[in-house]
């Protein structure tokens, strides 16, 4: 009998196959994702001022950006968090719910869409800020939504980094999967 617990759409596609839960959690992918996310946090600690980074500021972590990178790497460095974020969350999500190409593709496209949406929103601040409810400013994290839009800068290079991160993650997942099949 079909379980009365139903999850529709994409999640259903990823979680179930003919009503059966076959996918096992891939702890390796989860660990890679978490490690990359930690790397991203470390990047912020080393190269961004806590004054301009909400989570550092609110955790009471004081940091002054160090300037050891040659200027030619600064452009790459500024977009690295966009790459790391999309890559990390694709890995963690895939590790949890996907094990086939179709699942990987859906996960990659989902995180690509989310990250691109937030990047583009920084360029639409004059449209979006007026519709942010005032009560956001009294809630932890949501209080930063306005400043995120107001002070964040839309950057085509960030969009590129998100796209590259998504593609690299997809290739990593599929090649890794193919390697496993050969092992079998």
């Amino acid at each position: 009998m079909r379980e009365d617990f139903e999850i529709s759409g994409v999640v259903n596609t990823l979680l179930f196959d003919s009503g059966q839960v076959r996918q096992r959690v891939n702890y390796r992918q989860l660990l890679i994702g978490f490690s990359v996310l930690t790397l991203g946090a470390l990047f912020y600690y080393l190269f961004r001022s806590s004054e301009h980074t909400y989570f550092l500021n609110n955790l009471g972590i004081s940091s002054q950006p160090i300037s050891i990178l040659p200027s030619v790497f600064l452009t790459i460095g500024n977009t690295l968090p966009s790459f790391l974020h999309v890559f990390a969350f694709i890995m963690m999500t895939a590790g949890l719910i996907a094990n086939q190409k179709r699942g990987y593709l859906i996960v990659c496209l989902s995180w690509f869409t989310i990250d691109v949406f937030f990047e583009i929103s920084q360029g639409l601040d004059n449209i979006l800020i007026p519709i942010i409810p005032n009560w956001f400013s009294h809630i932890f994290l949501l209080e930063n939504a306005r400043d995120y839009l107001l002070y964040g800068s839309f950057d085509y290079l960030d969009l590129l980094a998100i796209a590259v991160g998504s593609v690299v993650a997809y290739l990593f997942l599929t090649i890794n999967e193919r390697g496993k099949q050969y092992e079998k």
Binding site: E3, T53, F55, N78, D125, I129, N134, L150, S153
Partner: protein
């Protein structure tokens, strides 16, 4: 039953990852992209023009931009006189950008009824005109300013020494000493005022100004205010005018002074 339990665990784990992903985007940034190289000398000076808000209200404004990247704009007439915007900016070529804090003034508050707001500006400089847009927490709009070259004049503290009569604003007359220190009163709350003036760049008639208000009837008024001052010549009154525009974290003041006869 086991499948159902595992699916639930996975579903909630997925939800946690999704929320974490979005939270880390929002929490990682409140302007970390930074601004370009500061090269603001070409943009420094006195600017006058108009600002149009999101509701198509137009205000007459005057502004000072300093060689070290500070700016102060103030509504200089009408019921909102004294409403000011203070911030810093940087330039990349002919394009500038910056962050600002806005202070309500006159009979006006901001659209969200707050008295202090923050926002960003972006603008381009084309010859003697500067035009751009601003976005704040409650509004957005445009501004257009024309350059006035008269502050491209060398200034020393000796030029400011003496007694200055208040023409606009809530300060009384002030007495400026040769070292830039000055004293006076803030009339509405009977505050004693002590301040200091320092030259930012001796080739320009623009100064840093610090004002400390003491012993005010309303204790909330006590405190230190910082900002800019500018010495200009007013064609209408055929007199020098020393204007100061200052603010604390929550309050702002301005004063237009002319030399005592």
């Amino acid at each position: 039953m086991k499948n159902k339990f595992v699916a639930l665990i996975k579903f909630f784990s997925l939800a946690v990852i999704a929320v974490l992903g979005i939270v880390t985007i929002i929490a990682s940034n409140d302007g970390g992209s930074g601004h370009g190289t500061v090269d603001t000398t070409d943009t420094a000076g006195l600017w006058t023009g108009t600002l149009t808000d999101g509701e198509n209200n137009t205000y007459s404004i005057g502004g000072i931009t300093s060689t070290d990247g500070q700016f102060r704009l103030i509504i200089d007439e009408g019921e909102c006189i004294g409403m000011q915007v203070a911030g810093t900016f940087s330039m990349e070529g002919d394009t500038g950008s910056g962050d600002f804090t806005g202070y309500a003034g006159g009979l006006c508050t901001f659209n969200n009824l707050e008295t202090v707001i923050s926002g960003t500006v972006e603008f381009t400089v084309n010859g003697d005109t500067l035009s751009g847009t601003f976005v704040s927490q409650d509004d957005s709009g445009t501004f257009s300013l024309t350059y006035d070259p008269q502050v491209e004049t060398p200034l020393t503290l000796a030029d400011l020494e003496g007694t200055w009569i208040a023409e606009e604003g809530d300060f009384s007359e002030i007495a400026i000493l040769i070292d830039g220190g000055f004293m006076g009163n803030y009339v509405p709350y009977n505050c004693n005022v002590a301040g200091s003036i320092s030259i930012i760049d001796p080739d320009w008639s623009i100064t840093n100004v610090t004002v400390t208000k003491l012993n005010c009837d309303n204790e909330n008024m006590n405190g230190t205010y910082t900002g800019l001052g500018v010495l200009v010549f007013d064609e209408e009154s055929q007199s020098e005018v020393f204007a100061i525009i200052v603010s604390s974290s929550t309050l702002s003041n301005f004063g237009f002074f002319t030399p005592a006869p």
